[in-house]
C-alpha cells in the first residue's frame, strides 16, 4: 500500500482533514506517510481472522445520566473565547 501513496491521495486526505498544506508540506507528508505505512504494513503478518476489534479496554456501552442541567451559568466565560463576537452570538463566515 505504501507504494500507492501519491500526491492525489495526500491532497484528498488534506481535504478530509480540512488542512491547508503548502507544496513542501505535501511533499514531506507524502514521504513520511510512505515511511510510516511501510512500517505499519507489518500488521498484515498477524492472523486476526477470528478476532473482534477492540475499541476500548473495558467495554462500557451506553453510559447514561439523567438529562438534568448541573453546571452553573458560565455563558460569559464561554463567549469570551469567541474569535469574533457580537453581543451574545459568535460571528462566523457564511455557511451557504
Amino acid at each position: 500500500m505504501a507504494d500507492k501513496i501519491n500526491e492525489k491521495i495526500i491532497e484528498d486526505m488534506a481535504v478530509l482533514a480540512k488542512l491547508k498544506l503548502s507544496k513542501d508540506e505535501i511533499e514531506e507528508t507524502k514521504k513520511d506517510m510512505i515511511k510510516m505505512l511501510e512500517y505499519v504494513d507489518k500488521l498484515k503478518e498477524l492472523d486476526t481472522e477470528n478476532e473482534e476489534p477492540m475499541y476500548q479496554v473495558f467495554s462500557k456501552n451506553n453510559v447514561f445520566r439523567d438529562d438534568v442541567v448541573k453546571n452553573k451559568d458560565d455563558r460569559e466565560d464561554i463567549l469570551a473565547n469567541a474569535p469574533e463576537r457580537e453581543n451574545d452570538t459568535i460571528v462566523v463566515p457564511k455557511t451557504y
Binding site: E45, M54, P83, V92
Partner: protein, 485 residues
C-alpha cells in the same frame, strides 16, 4: 532547610507541625523558578507569585484550623497544559489554542485543589501530547535539568523537568503512549500511569480517548501514590470512568515483597537497548530478588506489533479528536480566508504544528473509506490480541519489569531528524496504553554521562497496589543519593 528538595508529603508534614509555612515554600519554589526557568522553559504559563501566595494564605489558615488535613496540603504543583484549569490559559502546547481560557477545571485539578495543593503554573508539552521530546511545542523547547543539551523527554517534558528542577513538589502529566513514564525516566523522577478509567478524563483535552490517562509525577513513590489516591475515583462526568473501590493506594506502601512473582520479558532486553540501561535495570531487578521476589525471564511475544498498532489507533483517534479545532467557537482563527471551508483549512493549517498535522493525516488515512478495514480495524484486532497476551502473562506473574526507553535522554534536535526511530523508542511503553494497564517508572541508575535511567514496573488492570508496593520496596532498599543526584 532545602525545602524544594523535600518530597510533597515531607513538606506538608512540616507545614502541619509548624516547622515551615506555606508562604516559605511558595517563595522557595519561585526562587528556583527565577534561577532556572529562563534556561529550562518548563512553563507555558507561570502564575504570578502574589496569586500563589494568596492561595497559599487561604490554605495555611485551613491547615492551622485543622480543617485541611490532606497529606499534600500547602504544596506547590504544576499542571500539564492539556489539562483544563478554570479561567487560566490552556494551550496544549499549540498555536491553535493560544488564547483559549477554559470555563471549567478538569476533575483531577478540582480534586487537587480541594486537597490544598497550590497550582503555580501550566507546563510545557509536545503539541497536543504528540511527541517524545517536548520539542514540538509552539511555546519553545524544554530542556533536561540534568544536561541542558538534552531533551527532557515527552510529551510531559515540562511537568517532569519542573519536578526534577525543584520548581514544584509534584506535577500532573498525561500518558497516551508513554508520555508520563518516558520523560520521568529521562528526568530522574517517578511517574505513574494508572489503569485506564481510574482518573477522570473530564477536562483533559483528548488525544487518544481510549489510551489517555492523567497521572502523577513526583520525587518518590510515596508522593505518586498519595497524589494518585487523591485524583482517582469514579466521576460521572467521564463516561469511561471506572467505579473502583480500591483507590487507597498508599496502603500499598510496604517494603514486603516476599514471594511476589516478577516476569522479565526477554523481548524487552533484545537488540536496540542501550547496554548501560540493560545493566541498570537488571541490577534493579536483582535488588528485588534479594528482597524476596521470585524473578523469572519469559518470552512475551508480539512486541514488534506494539508500535504499528499504537500509531494507527492513536493517530486515528487524534485525527477525530482534533477535528473540533476549527476556529469557530474558540481558539485561533486565521485572519484571512475565503468562505467557511477555507477558514477551516487556513486556521488548521496555520494553527497546528508539523508533527500534529502529520499524525492527523495518518489518522485520517487510516479511517478513510477504502483503507479503514486494512488499517484501523486491523489495528483494533491486533490490540485485542495484545490485550489477550498480557491477560495470559498476568496469570503467571504479578508484575512485569523492564526498561522504560531504549536510550537515555537524546540530545536536542536529534530525534526529530528521524521520526520513525523516535516512534520506535516508545516500544516499551505503548503496550500499557493499548491494554489499559497501570505502569510506573522509577529511577534506577545513571549512564556514564550522568543522565538518568528509569525502570518500568507494569501490572495487570487495577493492580496499582502491586506496582506501588514493588516500586516502594525498591526505593527503600536503594540509596537514592546514588540513583538520583
Amino acid at each position: 532547610m532545602d525545602l524544594m528538595n523535600l518530597t510533597a508529603c515531607q513538606l506538608s508534614k512540616k507545614i502541619k507541625s509548624g516547622e515551615t509555612k506555606v508562604s516559605e515554600i511558595i517563595n522557595e519554589a519561585y526562587k528556583q523558578i527565577d534561577l532556572k526557568e529562563k534556561e529550562l522553559n518548563c512553563f507555558i504559563t507561570l502564575y504570578e507569585k502574589e496569586e500563589a501566595l494568596a492561595k497559599g494564605k487561604k490554605v495555611q489558615e485551613l491547615i492551622d484550623k485543622g480543617e485541611l488535613t490532606s497529606p499534600i496540603a500547602g504544596v506547590p504543583v504544576v499542571i500539564k497544559d492539556n489539562i483544563c484549569t478554570k479561567r487560566k490559559l490552556t494551550t496544549c502546547g499549540s498555536k491553535i489554542l493560544n488564547n483559549f481560557v477554559p470555563s471549567y477545571s478538569a476533575e483531577a485539578v478540582t480534586r487537587l485543589e480541594k486537597a490544598g495543593a497550590i497550582i503555580i503554573g501550566k507546563s510545557n508539552m509536545d503539541e497536543f501530547a504528540k511527541g517524545s521530546t517536548t520539542e514540538t511545542s509552539y511555546y519553545g523547547i524544554t530542556k533536561n535539568p540534568w544536561n541542558k543539551k538534552h531533551v527532557p523527554g515527552g510529551s510531559s517534558g515540562g511537568s517532569c523537568a519542573a519536578v526534577a528542577a525543584d520548581m514544584c513538589s509534584f506535577s500532573l502529566g498525561t500518558d497516551t503512549g508513554g508520555s508520563i513514564r518516558q520523560p520521568s525516566s529521562h528526568c530522574g523522577v517517578v511517574g505513574l500511569k494508572p489503569t485506564y478509567g481510574t482518573v477522570s478524563r473530564y477536562g483533559l483535552i483528548a488525544y487518544g480517548s481510549s489510551l489517555d490517562q492523567i497521572g502523577p509525577i513526583g520525587k518518590d513513590v510515596r508522593d505518586c501514590a498519595t497524589v494518585l489516591e487523591i485524583i482517582s475515583g469514579y466521576d460521572e462526568k467521564d463516561s469511561t470512568s471506572v467505579m473502583r473501590k480500591d483507590c487507597d493506594f498508599t496502603s500499598a506502601l510496604s517494603e514486603n515483597i516476599q514471594g511476589i512473582k516478577i516476569g522479565v520479558p526477554k523481548d524487552y532486553f533484545a537488540e536496540g537497548l542501550n547496554q548501560e540501561i540493560k545493566e541498570a535495570v537488571i541490577k534493579g531487578i536483582e535488588v528485588l530478588r534479594e528482597k524476596g521476589a521470585i524473578v523469572e525471564e519469559f518470552d512475551l511475544g508480539l512486541t514488534e506489533y506494539f508500535i504499528p498498532t499504537y500509531y494507527i489507533i492513536a493517530s486515528a483517534e487524534a485525527s477525530s479528536n482534533l477535528s473540533r479545532f476549527d476556529g469557530v467557537k474558540y481558539g485561533y482563527r486565521a485572519e484571512e480566508y475565503n468562505g467557511l471551508h477555507n477558514m477551516y483549512k487556513e486556521t488548521r493549517g496555520q494553527g497546528f504544528g508539523k508533527e500534529t498535522k502529520k499524525r492527523i493525516m495518518l489518522g485520517t488515512f487510516a479511517l478513510s473509506s477504502g483503507y479503514y478495514d486494512e488499517y484501523y480495524l486491523k489495528a483494533l484486532k491486533a490490540r485485542g490480541l495484545i490485550k489477550k497476551k498480557f491477560d495470559d502473562t498476568f496469570k503467571k506473574y504479578d508484575v512485569i519489569i523492564g526498561p522504560v526507553a531504549p536510550t537515555t535522554a537524546p540530545k536536542l534536535g536529534e530525534s526529530l531528524k528521524d521520526p520513525l526511530k523516535m516512534y520506535l523508542s516508545d516500544i516499551y511503553t505503548v503496550a500499557a496504553n493499548l491494554a489499559g494497564l497501570p505502569a510506573i517508572s522509577i529511577p534506577c541508575g545513571m549512564d556514564k554521562n550522568g543522565m538518568p535511567i528509569g525502570m518500568q514496573i507494569m501490572g495487570d488492570c487495577f493492580q496499582e497496589k502491586k506496582i506501588i508496593n514493588i516500586a516502594y520496596a525498591y526505593q527503600q532498599a536503594v540509596d537514592q543519593g546514588q540513583i538520583r543526584r
